[in-house]
């Protein structure tokens, strides 16, 4: 009821096309929750909710494709009064997120059954987290970036602690939660300071403001920028904000770890690129040294710390820190080429990380606790296909030619060299060599003869249908990205050109 003298608020028009991919995912999550409460005792609910989740991802992919077609012919634009950017960049990142979500869902079905954790809520939470990531990929405002960061993180905190019988899973959830909320607070403080300095939270508004007005005293802006970098550095697991990564990646249920490594990195790097290369491009003289430092530290810390590990899941967790370093090399270039190289790297990493963690999940068997290097001894003679696939994913992570990893590393290095950062490229290559050593250790363990006296015979490794499909997709994608990278590289390049500013 509107009283006299009060003018009704004129609502902004809603651009449904701009938000359809996110709505499709979230609707699937809601549907699962409803189904769960309606058919509580039906044993088929678990299977049905996984199918609903996959259908949601497919619908979301369809809408993302529609967005791409529109953006490709009509150019990028901003929707929802500037809070959402509909552009090629967003479409690319969304495609990566959807792909990673699909793979993680496929892995989860069998895993949850094996661990007796069947619960539709798992899929609902994973879809909610993916919704947050999608929102982040297209967010054009610091407020929406913060909200999507919270959406994706809070769902992940719960997912990390999902296997409550395992102490390490609970520890992972709590640790991620505490450190994550701390980093969110830092990020929020950064938003407040940037808002204080520029008077807007719109990324495009910030860029316009900085292009028009030269700040005489820009201390507040710099502190804000630094805090934003810290907050996002935490989410992408860049050193020195990586402390949580090994414990959380190791403790979380393995499909969740794969999802975290692949999709969260993609979403968070989308925010990094939009904020730093997009909104603060004019200040790149000031933020590039900081990103340079983060990149070098991540590369070295990630690969050197991985060498001394004996736990394979932990090794891969440390390596994910160093992969964040490679992406930061692309970010640091602050050019279109660097951006598209970073996008391509994020896409490749999503595939190879999910693939590697999928095998880790299978080898761990029931209880999800066989992660030691000795558990991999003799895998090649027992399960040659699995050992071969893991070798493929590890070689891809090491950057061996004919895999996507090689092209990805090559493109970030060449982006760095184009702007004269020879040292950074050199550090990257050094890290790649150290990383190759780590991967070879795992591969050698697999092809070593089985250790008959020490290793107790565990339960058989069972590959369920969903995991098999996911592994096939991941292996196909990694070879595809390595042999004919042109298609995805062109996509990344076109996506960068169609960035809403």
């Amino acid at each position: 009821m509107i009283g006299a003298g009060v003018t009704p608020i004129a609502h902004a028009p809603v651009d449904w096309y701009a938000i359809a991919p996110e709505i499709a995912l979230f609707a699937a999550a809601i549907l699962i929750v409803v189904l769960r409460s309606v058919a509580r005792h039906d044993p088929k609910v678990h299977q049905a909710s996984m199918l609903i989740a996959i259908a949601g991802v497919a619908a979301s992919a369809l809408f993302t494709g529609v967005q791409w077609a529109f953006v490709h012919s009509n150019g990028p634009y901003q929707a929802m009064s500037g809070l959402v950017a509909v552009d090629g960049f967003g479409v690319f990142v969304k495609s990566v997120i959807l792909g990673a979500t699909l793979l993680a869902l496929l892995l989860s079905g069998g895993y949850l059954r094996r661990e007796h954790l069947e619960s539709p809520e798992y899929f609902a939470l994973m879809l909610c987290s993916a919704t947050g990531m999608m929102l982040m990929a297209s967010a054009n405002d610091l407020i929406t970036i913060f909200l999507s960061l919270e959406i994706l993180s809070i769902a992940l905190y719960v997912l990390a602690a999902f296997d409550r019988r395992r102490l390490s899973s609970q520890e992972a959830g709590l640790k991620y939660f505490l450190l994550g909320s701390f980093s969110s607070a830092v990020f929020l403080y950064g938003i407040a300071l940037v808002y204080g300095a520029t008077g807007t939270t719109r990324l495009s508004g910030i860029a316009q403001f900085l292009a028009k007005i030269v700040l005489l005293h820009d201390g507040v802006l710099f502190v804000g920028l630094a805090l934003l970098l810290v907050g996002l550095g935490f989410k992408v697991a860049a050193a020195p904000f990586h402390m949580w990564t090994p414990d959380v990646y190791q403790g979380a249920p393995t499909p969740v770890t794969a999802f975290m490594a692949a999709a969260t990195k993609a979403a968070a790097f989308a925010a990094v690129l939009r904020i730093f290369v997009g909104a603060f491009r004019l200040y790149d003289v000031d933020w590039r040294p900081a990103v340079f430092g983060l990149a070098v530290l991540s590369l070295l810390v990630g690969s050197i710390a991985a060498v001394v590990q004996t736990d394979v899941k932990r090794m891969l967790a440390y390596q994910s820190i160093s992969h964040a370093g490679y992406v930061l090399i692309g970010v640091q270039a602050a050019t279109d080429k660097g951006t598209s190289a970073a996008l391509f790297y994020v896409c490749t990493y999503a595939v190879m990380a999910t693939g590697a963690f999928a095998i880790v999940m299978l080898v761990a068997r029931r209880g999800d606790d066989r992660h030691e290097l000795t558990d991999y001894r003799g895998l090649a003679s027992a399960r040659p296909v699995l050992a071969g696939l893991l070798t493929l994913f590890l070689l891809a992570q090491a950057g061996v030619p004919l895999t996507g990893g090689f092209v990805a590393k090559l493109s970030v290095f060449s982006a760095a060299i184009d702007v004269g950062q020879y040292w950074l490229a050199l550090v990257g290559m050094l890290a790649a060599v150290i990383g190759a050593f780590v991967y070879l250790r795992i591969v050698l363990a697999m092809y070593a003869p089985p250790d008959d006296e020490a290793a107790p015979e565990g339960p058989r490794i069972v590959v369920d249908a969903g995991t098999g499909v996911a592994l096939t997709i991941a292996a196909g994608a990694i070879v595809f990205l390595g042999v004919v990278p042109g298609i995805v590289l062109d996509f990344a390049h076109a996506a960068t050109q169609l960035l809403a500013r």
Partner: protein, 191 residues
């Protein structure tokens, strides 16, 4: 007058913040937190942000602090058994880094025009008697309506997540632990 209010409240904010981390008794820490939050609310009032001040009181000073006190009393940690397991190196590092940040802020404040930016981008706050509910509502339901709607996802996650975490622990209290799982009969039989 304004300066007096500012300095009194500013001092109260800092004293409260120090009290939170220095207090040995968790209940005292929670009460110091209350002091900080209420003082910040007064500072908001001074900036003519009546609505934000009210929200600060209702949400933070009331709901959240009460929740803290509930948890403290339910868990029974108010017996003064403050965990003292901070590593000495960590303590030194925390102090050094804190001083560094403080110096950084002081250096920034040093110039008298340390903030240059756009002023009052959302327009005037409105007449003092109307508060600023109208301005805020307009902003929330026009420009920021999408951000407002996004919080719906957060609420769903909060409900589903807390149900998952809470129910499972009660339901599965007697479930075998991970070690017991691994040694279940039939589980270890050679393949």
């Amino acid at each position: 007058m304004e300066a007096v209010v500012f300095f009194v409240c500013g001092a109260a904010v800092i004293i409260g913040a120090l009290g939170v981390i220095a207090g040995r008794n968790p209940v005292h820490s929670a009460l110091f937190l209350l002091l900080t939050l209420v003082s910040i609310a007064v500072l908001y009032l001074q900036q003519h942000a009546a609505l934000v001040a009210a929200v600060q009181i209702v949400v933070y000073a009331s709901a959240i602090v009460v929740l803290f006190l509930f948890v403290i009393t339910l868990l029974g940690v108010d017996k003064g058994e403050a965990p003292d397991d901070a590593h000495p190196v960590q303590q030194v590092a925390a102090v050094v880094l804190g001083v560094l940040v403080l110096t950084g802020i002081l250096v920034l404040v040093h110039g008298n025009r340390w903030v240059t930016g756009a002023h009052s981008t959302r327009g005037a706050l409105g007449a003092a008697d109307s508060g600023n509910v109208e301005t805020l509502a307009k902003s929330l339901f026009t420009d920021f309506v999408w951000a407002f709607e996004m919080t719906a996802v957060l609420l769903v996650i909060a409900v589903v997540g807390s149900v998952v975490l809470a129910r499972r622990s009660g339901h599965r209290a007697d479930a075998p632990s991970a070690e017991a799982h691994a040694t279940e009969p039939g589980e270890r039989s050679p393949a």
